[in-house]
């Protein structure tokens, strides 16, 4: 069982968390001018990085979405912070 740090609750067991998305995506606007290609890229493209990843996670028990920086090979957690504290 891996322990993940929720910025609101502190360290909690991994099954309380859900991976939501890779961080850094910006919704293309305005909708009327967004092409199908741009929209598909926003919806579906992932980097699936091997190594350090910045990800948005959801802590189901407190309802917090937050930014977690992890190593996807070793599983080490590098950083965990509220989205409001994230740079992008």
């Amino acid at each position: 069982m891996q322990i993940f740090p929720c910025p609101f609750c502190g360290p909690r067991e991994e099954h309380e968390f859900l991976f939501a998305a890779e961080a850094g995506k910006v919704r293309p606007e305005p909708a009327a001018k967004v092409s199908d290609e741009e929209w598909a890229a926003y919806l579906y493209h992932n980097d699936a990085p091997k190594g350090i990843a910045r990800e948005i996670w959801y802590h189901q028990t407190c309802g917090t979405y937050f930014l977690m920086t992890r190593d996807t090979v070793t599983r080490d957690v590098k950083d965990s912070r509220f989205l409001s504290e994230a740079s992008t």
Partner: protein, 418 residues
């Protein structure tokens, strides 16, 4: 040249003390250039090389494998083969694979130990039985051998299944596919490697691709740990490693990578002669020819590139197995392992040209279901490499489906677990 395997060859070698067997495939060193290069020496990559040489006469082909052949997901799955999917596009794809599997031992002159012992997707609520009826009907409409099985026949096929009064999941029946079964996973990789090697394909192990060489939007070769290799036709069949390989070429994929675990118990006498997937627990199990119970379940829910599993998923899978078969609690686990699977939002593979790069072709996104599709994945990718055009069966699985919105959502259709 490799020996043709036959009972006569076995008898002859028996008399000669087995001194005449040759290596099944040649260990090659890279040539400066090839007509086609395939990255990934798993089942899909090796099958692609074989069908390129066999179906299309293209024999100056290299398969580049960073480790050893069949050492990735081909050697890490639970060996089930089946075509019990929902959508016509999927059934066309997976049943092509199953039909090729049915003739594969003879085709390759290598025993892949295909055992069509049938597969039951078992239901335990009336609602699940309705879904099963829907999928079984779809399978029949798509021309494959699916049928809805009642509880009596289903339970008769599963003698150790917990059907006591206090069992949590009483079996109501389910979907039966008689042509489904298991095959020896290593033999599939080795058989394709041997047959491809005999046709002149170079299989190069311990050769990691570090970069794709692309000029003016066209493939010109690859940089590898063993030097530069020139080619104008490049295929990537590298499962979870695909996004990292093609990102430098500006190709983006709808892939998340997760660990999928599998488990093997100590060997016991025959006690289960079908492949079983239980909808109530999400655990699936079969018994290998050696007597081991081979089982698995859903994905680990933490994106990863590490080939190891985590404990919550292990607990869920083992609990599911024991819920179905309490007697198995006495068994020891022999091995547990994980593979990195490339999961796509609609749980269907990506087969087709990489957008924006001439000469680059993709075969990925199989998620948890790649082993059963190896012959079809190879057949279709070889067709793409040889002709530059889609085969009609691979056309729906092009990356453009994500732009057009024509997803083939087998997660919703066949209820597969990712």
């Amino acid at each position: 040249m490799t020996t043709r395997y036959s009972s006569l060859a076995l008898l002859r070698e028996g008399f000669r003390g087995h001194r005449g067997w040759r290596p099944a495939w040649a260990k090659a060193t890279p040539q400066p250039a090839y007509d086609a290069v395939i990255i990934g020496g798993g089942g899909h990559g090796l099958a692609t090389a074989y069908y390129l040489a066999k179906n299309h006469g293209i024999r100056r082909v290299a398969v580049l494998e960073k480790g050893w052949i069949g050492g990735g997901n081909t050697g890490r799955n639970t060996t089930a083969v089946r075509s019990n999917y929902f959508y016509p596009e999927s059934v066309a794809l997976y049943d092509l694979a199953l039909r090729l599997y049915e003739g594969l031992s003879r085709e390759l002159n290598f025993n892949v130990m295909l055992s069509q012992r049938g597969m039951l997707i078992a239901a335990h609520t009336p609602a699940q039985m309705e879904i099963c009826a829907r999928i079984a009907n779809a399978m029949m409409l798509n021309g494959v051998d699916g049928e809805l099985m009642g509880p009596k026949e289903a339970i008769a096929r599963l003698p150790l299944l917990n059907q006591t009064a206090d069992a949590r999941y009483l079996c109501l029946g389910g979907i039966w596919q008689g042509r489904a079964g298991i095959a020896r996973h290593d033999a599939v990789a080795w058989g394709y490697a041997r047959a491809a090697s005999a046709l002149g394909v170079d299989i190069i192990e311990n050769c990691a691709v570090t970069d794709l060489r692309i000029e003016n939007g066209s493939v010109k070769g690859v940089a590898t740990s063993l030097g530069e290799i020139r080619t104008e036709r490049l295929a990537v069949a590298a499962a979870g490693a695909t996004p990292g390989l093609v990102a430098g070429a500006g190709v983006h994929l709808p892939i998340h990578t997760y660990a999928l675990q599998a488990f093997v118990s100590e060997p016991v006498k025959p006690c289960l002669d079908t492949v079983l997937l239980y909808l109530g627990t999400g655990t699936y199990v079969s018994q290998s020819d050696k007597g081991e119970l081979v089982f698995g379940g859903g994905l680990d829910r933490v994106p990863t590139h590490g080939q190891k599993g985590n404990l919550p998923a292990q607990e869920k899978v083992v609990a599911g197995l024991l819920e179905m078969f309490p007697a198995f609690a006495q068994l020891k686990l022999l091995r547990q392992w994980a593979g990195v699977v490339d999961v796509v939002p609609d749980s269907s593979p990506v087969i087709g040209p990489a957008p924006g790069v001439e000469g680059l072709y993709l075969n990925c996104g199989w998620g948890t279901g790649g082993f059963k599709a190896i012959p079809a994945g190879g057949w279709l990718l070889a067709h793409l490499l040889a002709t530059g055009q889609h085969h009609e069966i691979s056309r729906p699985f092009d990356l453009d489906r994500f732009i057009k919105g024509r997803l083939i959502d087998e997660a919703a259709g066949a209820g597969i677990s990712h």
